[in-house]
Symmetry: C2
Subunit: 322 residues, 2 copies
């Protein structure tokens, strides 16, 4: 029996306690000319359990352009039914992205980067994709097609999150070799102003389908750096993905869309639960500031920051990372 009162749920909302640590530092965009925002980036990829030998179909790249840039592409696995390797498209898309990011026209616009990288990709297949570029002023620019995701964590809470785009359950928007797919014009394009210390957590749907926000926050809070955080997050998602009793974000979403176990299992009291086995890519980036000497007019120092790699350009797939 469900019982409660609405008033039980409506305590007066309290004024913030005087000693709450609310103040934080913030970029003064280009006013304090010596401070520039950069990303300290950690990455980790774990292929689908049945795709370990081929490395899976996710791919990503990380670059040092601007304040830092990264992208993730998730090859759509349905292509395997047509005897097409679904990894080819996502890997070429990321390789092309890492080339075009050097182009001045696209280095400031993730949607143009997607357009150019997509146009240059000749492999057959399709992929969901997300690109994030940090400007030195602290503005993060995002373009996303499909169900890769990105969240920003500030002061221990998720303060920004992208939403997946899909045609229907489990059929995301995707850049494709075929004219029937989406284009960069279909991307969600947005920006968010970041602050020093903000953490970015981005991943393929194989990550976000298998982990809850509260788990992400706990792992981020308990990790010494972005490399460790990315690895710990990917491993927690993998653990959930093969757990047939875990009530994952994916199984909750499936039930909310009307999917269910067969009727005879339902009669026995079963419900649709379980993780979702998939390639898992995680990128964790922390926003830091670097001091640029007055006499340096352009460029940022590419250096080790806090033990993590700062945006050394490169393309990777699970083959290389795992």
């Amino acid at each position: 029996m469900a019982a409660s009162t609405a008033s039980r749920l409506s305590p007066p909302r309290l004024h913030a306690a005087p000693n709450h640590p609310l103040r934080r530092s913030r970029f003064s965009p280009l006013r304090a000319a010596k401070l520039e925002a950069v990303l300290s980036i950690g990455t980790h990829v774990i292929p689908h359990p049945r795709k370990v030998e081929t490395g899976g179909e996710d791919a990503f790249f990380v670059g040092g352009d601007g304040g830092g840039v990264f992208a993730i592409a998730d090859g759509v696995s349905g292509w395997a039914e047509k005897n097409v390797n679904p990894a080819l498209f996502s890997r070429e898309l990321m390789a092309n992205s890492s080339t075009f990011i050097k182009d001045e026209e696209v280095s400031q616009d993730p949607q143009i980067l997607l357009m150019k990288a997509h146009a240059a990709t000749s492999s057959i297949g399709s992929a969901t994709v997300i690109v994030a570029m940090l400007e030195k002023t602290g503005t993060l620019k995002i373009a996303s097609v499909g169900d890769c995701g990105l969240k920003v964590i500030r002061k221990g809470q998720v303060m920004f999150s992208t939403c997946p785009q899909e045609h229907y359950f489990d059929c995301p928007y995707q850049l494709s070799s075929e004219a029937i797919g989406q284009t960069s014009q279909d991307a969600l394009v947005c920006t968010v102003n970041l602050m020093e210390g903000d953490m970015i957590v981005s991943g393929s749907d194989g990550f976000f389908d298998n982990i809850f926000d509260q788990e992400i926050l706990a792992v981020i809070n308990g990790s010494p750096g972005t490399d460790e955080a990315a690895k710990a997050l990917a491993e927690l998602a993998r653990k959930h993905s093969v757990d047939v009793t875990f009530d994952s974000p994916y199984s909750m979403e499936a039930r909310s869309r009307g999917f269910d176990v067969p009727w005879w299992k339902k009669l026995l009291g079963a419900k649709l639960v379980g993780g979702k086995m998939d390639d898992i890519t995680v990128i964790v980036a922390q926003v830091k500031t670097v001091v640029i000497p007055d006499d340096e007019g352009s460029g940022i120092e590419l250096e080790k920051v806090g033990g993590e790699q700062l945006a050394a350009a490169g393309v990777a797939s699970a083959e290389q990372s795992e």
Copy 2:
């Protein structure tokens, strides 16, 4: 007994069917000089059931500047315990916002608008607040402090959503007359590129705490215009807010934070459910394009579009709306 397999949950993700209606019109920002984005805005406010006579503590304003602008402020009710009318701060904040939006410096930057409006507000109290400004190119600029919300709906799905900021459950970030509150510097500041036909649904927490995304989508889909949609959404949220058996977003969040019914009720099988009685403000805006004659260099026509009011400037609270 929970039973399923992960593979049951992992169908291959399908390629989009060839006849899927994916293409849509899109703004060509300033390339097609005659097309400008504007908002067709509908609003509806329903005060807390015990605050109908005073009009509640939400306030909002709608203006025609740029492609359209709106803001919502939710006065923090805890001030009533200190014999301060919580509505004064939110109403003055919105009145000041509607004044400063005319200022060229702030008309392009919602965070500067918040800063100036906050600095000019002399009432005692505090409020959560969200401001959204549409540029004529289709870029929506958002600044939010606390737990007012904004979602963008495109092609029948939520493709963008703000996240609430809070100190702890039911204590949101808030602009305040006191130094211990937050400032505009604490705002979530983001932009999202909109397309013709996109729907924006914004509201105070009293709205989003009492309605699910799927319900919002259904109401938007079934409404002939933004006025009707805003009214229907507010009324559905009000219905849920006084329903002690409704398992609302608010009660689900409360349980996830460890809140529960008293132990003796729990022994009887009860669980914490119910809507949340609160002031409910809803703003629904649809992105439309207007054709500007070649010889008009600036400004957009303020006119009736599709039966709804297009951004006639004004400030309102529940006193005036209900």
